[in-house]
Symmetry: D2
Subunit: 321 residues, 4 copies
């Protein structure tokens, strides 16, 4: 790590300046509520975190970008709010792209593999070719140890109980630990940097790591603009997303609420909290509002779609994409 050519993670010791201690004067848009959170690891899952490293812009910067203007927002907050809601409603995405946020994230590799499908972001991950990865792996909480859903090929069903649950947890823990131990033996090096057996050469890091499980934690810096962050959150803070990535999205929703309170509200109103009706769904709602008693049979929808639509339209129904 002492090398000046590594792109791997710096161990704690070498990192010189603790950035959280310094303050500077700036003329840039600044958000006090987010400054408080800066650099602080917000815990997620058993060993993960989300840390906000930097940000660019605030609600007024969205307004300023939308107007291509010389000043910042307007005197009246109500006007800024009206414009932001208008932009969100009409899917004018460019002004939201003019703000940016940068995170340091620690997450299991299987979550990282879902995450990286979102291509419109910048990322730098620690490299298992340069560095020895930490001995940390995700083991689900018993409450999240669910069976395969019998309804949804992609989801979870009931929580496992008793003996079966115990065995699953044992296997997950033991295999991850064994594989990590063998990783060190192949490397011939501990994560402390100690050589295990001086008579051995040690396997190249880029090869030894292939023995690790997908539950192993990795880390990256991840930077994204506000529009694409909201797109990411609308997909990953939503019920169909796997619980583990949703845990990250939920923390980031809170970050968004602090960073951009007005934009966040508009996002909840027009993106997270609404309902998209298909052409057939819209026709059904029109018929129902006109007084017709529509049934699944006369609706033109499949059973599954009909059930979903009715659930969404119920008085206390849960909204959602």
């Amino acid at each position: 790590m002492a090398s000046d050519t590594t792109t791997g993670p710096a161990g704690g010791g070498e990192d010189s300046a603790d950035p959280s201690a310094e303050t500077f004067m700036t003329r840039r848009a600044t958000v006090p509520a987010l400054e408080e959170l800066l650099y602080r690891p917000l815990p997620v899952l058993d060993h993960g975190f989300v840390r906000v490293i930097d940000y660019m812009g605030d609600d007024a910067a969205v307004v300023q970008g939308a107007r291509v203007s010389y000043g910042r927002g307007t005197k009246k907050v109500s006007q800024d709010r009206g414009l932001i809601f208008y932009l969100m409603r009409h899917r004018h995405t460019s002004p939201f792209e003019l703000c940016e946020i940068k995170f340091h994230i620690k997450l299991p590799i299987f979550v990282a593999r879902q995450w990286i499908r979102h291509r419109t972001a910048n990322v730098n991950e620690i490299s298992g070719r340069y560095s020895i990865l930490d001995r940390e792996f995700y083991v689900p909480d018993a409450a999240h140890l669910a069976a395969q859903s019998s309804l949804n090929r992609q989801g979870r069903g009931e929580v496992l109980q008793g003996e079966e649950a115990r065995e699953v947890l044992d296997m997950l823990r033991a295999d991850a630990a064994t594989n990590y131990e063998h990783y060190e033996r192949m490397l011939n090096e501990r994560d402390t940097g100690d050589i295990i057996d001086p008579s051995r050469q040690g396997l190249a890091r880029e090869l030894a790591r292939i023995n690790l499980t997908l539950s192993t934690y990795t880390q990256w810096y991840w930077k994204i603009d506000l529009h694409n962050l909201m797109h990411f959150l609308s997909l990953r803070a939503e019920g169909h997303a796997q619980y583990e990535i949703r845990a990250y999205a939920d923390v980031m929703l809170d970050v968004l609420a602090r960073w951009m309170p007005i934009t966040y509200e508009a996002f909840r109103e027009y993106r997270m909290g609404g309902l998209h009706l298909s052409a057939t769904g819209l026709a059904i709602v029109r018929r129902m509002l006109a007084g017709e008693a529509v049934t699944q049979e006369t609706s033109g929808l499949s059973k599954r779609e009909w059930t979903e639509l009715m659930a969404s339209l119920e008085a206390g129904g849960s909204a959602g994409a």
Copy 2:
């Protein structure tokens, strides 16, 4: 403009807060040399400008991103410098993508059309559907009024002289002015907002604007990450780029030098100032260094490529892609 739903440019009067007057405390990476420049229009061409609106990161943030680290850079500037040069030399682009800059730019439409080909950026342009565009258009300085190059189908040759130059300037000026005047007549509205003839309806803005010339100025907010900014500059601050866009790139190079002094130096060393040898070009250099007297005939290059290569390799030669 009074509408809270416009995305067009705000006229001066409504822009409430002058952002240049306010300062804030922040714990984010801050670059004093760039803070000085913030919000100040840096003039380009006859009516254009580049204004830095916001930025994210500094040289130490590149290092921090490369190391996916908890702290900021290292204690020793020499180590940061070594890593940045290493990253640039080996085209590790991800750490540079973790910094970002936002500009407000005023530029002629024909320049905007070249500029927008760079897709990896965020942009919001004033809308000619909402707003009346300003009465400003680019007229080249006499020194830049060049003939078509006889050597290069894409370049400029000698500067036009006398009568021909005068006529060209007259036509450019007169046509732009006439077209703008007719634009106002079709709109039935001055750029001051005054109605010209109350008995008329006025053509929709989205149609009237099609009468304007490509020399008309437009404005946009443009945000880009550091890696893609350097890619843009390597193409647009270079000899083959049209003079008018180069004028913007040159100003932005100065901004880069202030913002990221070490990265800027590495960029000049490895990207702007070097030479890319083709396979054949490399073979020629090897033969010459081994003492062989290579000629165009024995080189395997066309005349044009040979001449270019020899010019680049001359003692006082000009470097460049």
Copy 3:
């Protein structure tokens, strides 16, 4: 144009092979209904066109991509159809990204400027630095010569009549023609290639073109994947889009219907034909379905939003985002 290094448009004469005459054997997915259309210019506006140059994939290729499978689709069309509708409903966009289409398009510059905002596409435009642009410019049909909307700052209102319409058309035509004539005079060259005055040098093409109006036609090759094509069409074939770009989107919708009949149907069902309810809008619909008489005052919506929602929910209402 005779140069082998131009990237400008080839004049008719040099284009050797007429591609429409040749047929080949292929084992790739092939769509007979689209083959018929290949290379044929589909007229748009007064001088524009859309030509399909190439395509990759068909409805079965969406299925094959979704399954990451070794074969092509399934035996039963109904299964393919079910999967395509499922993918569209749940916004699984990746399989649609695995198909691609390439167009040759002729369009006015002001339309090109709106079009190019869609960044997830590949484009190569004829270059006004290399080539002399054609003497063709867009003049709206009298039926589309609309006044500025008094309701919508971005739209068109009533069609202009009588004297005002005549004057507008005269100005648009005369200015475009004058500017083009001066373009040739500055170049000192006709679009036929004839030199006008041998004693003159001629202004560089990259400068002379700045005198042209935004109504001048340009051309480009434009290639996009199926998912992003549908995103483009959902924004540009829609009521808020400017009429002139909508004219292109409408032609491309027909192309889509031929190329991908099942995907097109799913697109109409879930994307073009539906309605997005906001959180508040959904709450209102729930209250109405539960029998409550909701009014604008009790709705929580602004007057404009209320009017829009009620129009969308009316029995014969027009769907659309």
Copy 4:
């Protein structure tokens, strides 16, 4: 797998049509040399493959796109060749972006994680949430079982020998097998679809998979344009890339040579086979060509950079970035 809503991989049995058996008539650009390869798995590593599924364009289509022309290429191949070399030399990338290729690839997960960093491509991977992954994992050939390089923190050194090699291979094999066996036990289902213990529920697939090693094989469809394919290959077919991903890049280079013979040649001449000189490197070459005896001390380069430069400039030196 029988579901019509899965996006997982289809098992062999359900894949109806074997695409390799059918031929169609088309008027699209067609490349007989690539048609031969279509759908055929080209083996890579111990269980991987690359299959070409579809392609769009040929060398003449690059020319056609560059000219934005109505026809296809020119009569004379020499002119097409000249233009393609010109485009490559001057980094005019747009015409190359107008061609596209689609692959089906089977690869270990740790290779997939390097691969996916190339964002300008479309990808659909089999989902471990829907489907049970195959019992296949990568075990390196003894010849590729290398020690960590002592020179390069990111590379491989000497090949491991004797006892150490044997142990490493045993651990890699045994751990992958054990983890897979436990994966099935947690799922309570064999990859044949048989239930193991009817009294158990079985863990959700999305959770059980986290126990698999990074050496496990996955599959995806991957589609990319020609320009970005060459960018990918220039980075991944190169000496600094990890051997395992280079094995894929090498096979894809052969595919490129068949698909686009002229473009491939230009790519080797200007991209793969050349040398990029830094500003300092160029100055050194100039001094040497002018007869000066430059040494490392007078060169301005570090020892490492000097050694690299001298190696590249030697008569029999290996070219390459």
